[in-house]
């Protein structure tokens, strides 16, 4: 008994010391060419494991690719760019810890990461408190910047922008005067997207004939379908605000029920799952996203990015989030270059004055006072099971966040 308890105590103490010891992680592998000055450190947190991994892992790969390209071209201000990468594990407490480590032990000059509002809000206030900017690559809630004043920037468009683009495209190009609206109540993203679409579509003169909801992870949509088919005339378009995990199932069930009107959605549709699950049913689906990741149909920047990504990771970019991670590093590097120093204050100042910076996911400009970039929105049409470019849209009017 005594030895048992004694050994227990020893184990606990060892663990405690083990926890304290590796707090300062070993330095990254030495740069192949000895850089004259210390590298400029950028803190990167992505959820490489857990529920967010399907969006965040490609983002992290994109970010690493961008840093590699920048360093191969001589770095920034003559110094190498070093990404200090942490896994957030899709856990708010872990993310808070990692952000604190980035500020405290790694002494980074800027931070970036995440494709989710909760996760961004777990890290960004810690960066802000230390006077460091946090750029989110893929969290699209336009309410984010006001929640962390001065220091939270977005590298992607806000949901209000893509919803407005979708509404204008549906009203003007698809000639839709009536719409059906289905919203996933389980996610901030789908709630906001649906709300902004409704605002812009009704403002244009369109009418939402029927509104319905479901819950993330639902598998059976027959109740919603029955309600929709009970209408005297089926609306011109079906706007379905859904996340990547459910979209395939929904589209398939709606098509199987004989509903062949165009389905319209947001960047949650930008996943291979849409065509894999819905099959032929995915045709005649329009959605807004950051860019068309296609080696033949994409823009020049996209083609170059896909080739580089393929060479580096032996797989084409999984989705547009890879491009967003890539663009975010380029955005920060550009700000550091224009700031002329790695002083966090100067970086923030330069970042807010970013103008016409070309990227894989569009050109980034921050209007004075706004930390959400003005970016074009790509509208994609699914045709014969393939994503094709329908339009590049800059919405004429955007609902307030």
């Amino acid at each position: 008994m005594k030895t048992y308890l004694g050994s227990m105590l020893v184990v606990v103490m060892l663990l405690a010391s083990a926890c304290v010891m590796p707090v300062t992680p070993a330095p990254a592998p030495a740069q192949p060419t000895a850089a004259p000055a210390a590298p400029i450190k950028i803190g990167v947190i992505y959820n490489l494991t857990g529920a967010q991994a399907s969006l965040d892992a490609p983002s992290a790969n994109g970010a690493k690719l961008a840093a590699k390209e920048i360093n191969a071209a001589g770095g920034v201000l003559g110094r190498q760019l070093e990404l200090v990468l942490y896994d957030g594990k899709t856990d708010a407490a872990t993310i808070g810890n990692a952000a604190t480590q980035l500020v405290e032990s790694d002494k980074v000059v800027a931070m970036m990461g995440f494709s989710d509002t909760d996760m961004t809000l777990a890290a960004a206030p810690i960066a802000a408190k230390a006077g460091i900017v946090f750029v989110t690559s893929g969290a699209t809630s336009p309410k984010l910047p006001e929640q962390v004043p001065d220091y939270l920037f977005m590298a992607c468009f806000g949901d209000n922008v893509q919803a407005a683009a979708g509404a204008e495209y549906a009203y003007n190009t698809l000639q839709a005067k009536t719409a059906y609206l289905l919203i996933d109540k389980g996610m901030e993203y789908t709630l906001l997207l649906g709300k902004y679409f409704k605002e812009r579509f009704t403002e244009l003169g369109g009418e939402i004939v029927l509104e319905d909801t479901y819950q993330t992870g639902d598998k059976d949509f027959s109740a919603q379908i029955t309600k929709l088919k009970g209408l005297a005339t089926i609306p011109d378009i079906l706007f379905i605000s859904s996340g990547p995990d459910d979209v395939g199932t929904i589209v398939k069930q709606f098509r199987d029920a004989g509903l062949d009107k165009p389905i319209v959605g947001g960047d949650g549709y930008d996943t291979p799952l849409l065509v894999q699950i819905a099959g032929k049913g995915a045709d005649n689906t329009y959605f807004t996203t950051h860019s068309l990741m296609d080696p033949e149909l994409g823009t020049e920047a996209v083609k170059k990015f896909i080739a580089a990504y393929q060479a580096e990771y032996n797989t084409p970019p999984e989705n547009a989030f890879a491009g967003l991670g890539y663009d975010t590093v380029k955005l920060l590097a550009d700000a550091i270059r224009r700031a002329g120093s790695d002083d966090p204050k100067a970086i923030r100042e330069a970042l807010s004055q970013t103008k016409d910076l070309p990227g894989v996911t569009g050109t980034i400009t921050f209007q004075p006072g706004s930390r959400i970039p003005q970016k074009g929105v790509t509208v994609i049409l699914v045709k014969d099971g393939k994503f094709t470019l329908a339009a590049e849209v800059v919405p004429q009017k955007v609902p307030a966040p």
């Binding site: 083990a18 590796p22 707090v23 490489l48 896994d87 810890n97 809000l121 901030e188 709630l191």
Partner: protein
């Protein structure tokens, strides 16, 4: 006889003495953490304290009464949302929660009363739910409590005007400090360990070990379980409030299966039915996963360079969990308590 009494007295003295030493060590450690340690270490220690409250209070239900609850994180959610709604600054309430009932919209409470109210709300709900659920035992009660967790989740997502639904609840003031957390840890550990040794605690343990025999002895099994369930719900909700004011922005999905299983892992590793076991299990899991999280980022060991392997920490933790289950099926301490006093005087008693 006299020698035995002496030994007994010495044992008690040693027990008290070692308890004092332990308390002094913990306080000393906390002061040192507050004064010298980095903000990162402070965060880990705060997170550890919150987990200890969660696990020790869960142990009261799962360990001592044998009601293996899978729904306690629901109480954590209730505590977190109740307290956060109460402490949210009024100006932010108008922006974030414009549809609050007017009597709530004009309230802005300090941390302590908000936390207490969160705990009491959870306690009342636990009482209502427990009235029927505590009649069940074994796997039935586990499934039923899990049902409770799902219900709480669905309510949080759909009660927009109170919780913002699935949208992030943000702007919660960061009130949680080292001292708040560890003060609540002390209170939780004190209440639970005193309760476990009281007549009620004995009833709970008897009801756990043999329900029929306990009933034959005249123990009201449902009442004993209900008491444990309500008290543990209270402290779980307190931990929820501390967590909410530590993380400051969250949404309902933070209080679901992932969190449930993380707490149950800590409980099972430490040993169900042992307060000290819960604390040790929590400390081991928390510190080990932090250490592994730092280690998985790769390191240089002299000539050998280990590349980063993200996710390795979770795999290793799972392997350790399996090993613990194989070699210590009842957890590291089982249902024994770590008694420091016994450590010191054991030899003498053996002699007598």
């Amino acid at each position: 006889m006299a020698a035995k009494e002496q030994a007994g007295q010495a044992s008690r003295l040693a027990s008290w003495g070692s308890a004092l030493v332990l308390i002094a060590l913990v306080i000393g450690g906390l002061v040192a953490t507050e004064l010298v340690a980095s903000a990162y270490i402070q965060r880990v220690v705060i997170g550890l304290g919150i987990s200890i409250i969660l696990v020790v209070s869960l142990n009261l239900s799962n360990g001592f009464t044998g009601v293996f609850s899978l729904g306690h994180i629901g109480f954590m959610a209730i505590g977190a949302y109740t307290a956060a709604i109460l402490t949210l600054p009024i100006s932010l309430k108008q922006v974030n929660l414009p549809d609050l009932p007017s009597w709530l919209a004009r309230v802005e409470l300090p941390f302590l009363p908000a936390t207490l109210i969160g705990g009491v709300v959870a306690l009342l709900i636990a009482f209502l739910v427990g009235l029927s659920l505590m009649r069940l035992s074994g796997p039935y009660v586990s499934v039923a409590t899990m049902g409770f967790l799902v219900i709480v989740q669905v309510i949080l997502i759909n009660w927009d005007r109170m919780t913002r639904g699935a949208r992030t609840f943000s702007g919660v003031p960061p009130y949680t400090t080292l001292w708040w957390v560890w003060g609540w840890v002390a209170l939780t550990v004190y209440v639970v360990s005193r309760l476990a040794r009281s007549a009620y605690g004995r009833q709970m343990i008897a009801a756990r070990d043999n329900e029929i025999a306990a009933q034959a002895l005249g123990i009201n099994v449902t009442r004993a379980r209900l008491l444990a369930f309500c008290i543990s719900a209270f402290f779980t909700a307190v931990a929820g409030s501390l967590w909410a004011h530590f993380i400051t922005s969250f949404s309902p999905k933070a209080f679901y299966f992932a969190q449930t299983f993380s707490v149950i892992t800590m409980l099972v590793v430490g040993g169900m039915g042992s307060v000290s076991g819960s604390i040790i299990g929590t400390a081991i899991i928390t510190l080990l996963s932090e250490a592994l999280r730092n280690a998985e980022r790769g390191m240089n060991l002299g000539l050998i360079h280990i590349p980063p392997v993200y996710g390795a920490s979770q795999i290793l933790m799972a392997v350790i969990f399996v090993l613990v289950i194989i070699f210590w099926p009842k957890g590291l301490l089982g249902d024994r308590e770590l008694n420091l006093g016994r450590l010191f005087i054991k030899r003498r008693r053996e002699v007598s």
